[in-house]
Point group: C2
Chain length 130, copies 2
Amino acid sequence: MLTWARRLTPPGGLSASTYTTLDTLTLAGPSRITDLADREGISQPGMTALINRLETAGLAVRTPDPTDGRASLIDITDRGREVLAARRAERAHLIAARFGALSEPDQRALDAALPAFRRLTAEMAATPDI
Amino acid sequence: MLTWARRLTPPGGLSASTYTTLDTLTLAGPSRITDLADREGISQPGMTALINRLETAGLAVRTPDPTDGRASLIDITDRGREVLAARRAERAHLIAARFGALSEPDQRALDAALPAFRRLTAEMAATPDI
DNA sequence: AGCAACTATATAACCAGCTGATGGATGTCT
DNA sequence: AGACATCCATCAGCTGGTTATATAGTTGCT
C-alpha cells in the first residue's frame, strides 16, 4: 500500500532522511545540527549520526561556527549537490514513467493539485502536535 | 521535508509496514507470508518477523493452509480491525485539521486529484523495476 | 570578575525493522 | 521413487533511529 514510497528509496543509496537533509541544506544554507534535527523531526543525536554519515561519504562538511564555540555549521559539498541532483533526477524519472501512463485528465488533475499538496505537507511538517 | 510522513507515524504505535499489511489483510483476506512480502515490497524473513509482531500483539493469526502443508494463512483479528480503524481515524483527523486550513480552491484541487493519485501510486507499487 | 544556569554537540547503550544466507518440511513433476 | 521447487523459520548482521548522560562553551546576574 505504501509500497510506492519504498520504490523511490532504492537500497544502497541515501536513506529518506539523509536525502531530505541534503535538500534542506541546499535551501537553508549552512545550518546547526539542532536546527536540522528540528526541521527533519528527528532527535539531535539522530541528526549527529546522520551528519557523520554524510561527512564520511563526502556529501557534507562541518565547520566551527565562528560566533559560537559550541556549535558547528553543516554545509553541503559540491559532491553532495551532485548526488542530490542525481537522486532527484532518478526519482523524477521513476515518477514520470508512471505519470505518463495515466490518462490526460488524471495528469491535469495531479498537476493542478501540486501547489495545494505542497502547502498541505508544509503545514503538516510545521505543526508537531501529534 | 518528508517530515510530514513522520508526523503520521507517531512513536509507540504501529510501524508503517505493519499498518499497511493489516490494511492489505482486510482487502485481500487470509494470505500467505510470501504473498504479503511481495505486496509490501519487503523480504520474506522481514514479513515473517512482522507477522510475529502482529501475532503477539493479537492483531493477526496464523492458521495452517488446509491445501498446502508448507504454508500458513495469515488473517487479521477483530482486535486488529479495531486497531486499524482507530489508526485510520487518527490519521484522518490529523490530515483533516491541516486540510481545513487550506483555501477552498486548494481543497477542491486536492479532492479532484485524489483518484488520479491513487491510480499513480497503484501503478508504482505494481512495477518493481527500480 | 566569577559563578550559576543554560545551550550545542557528542557519546553510550539500546531497540526496531529490515537484509541475505541457509535449512527443514512439504509439494510437484516425470 | 527421485529430483527439484516452494514455503516458512531461524540466524547473524546492518541501518537508522531512540533516551540518558557527559562535555565544552555561552550568557546573565551580581
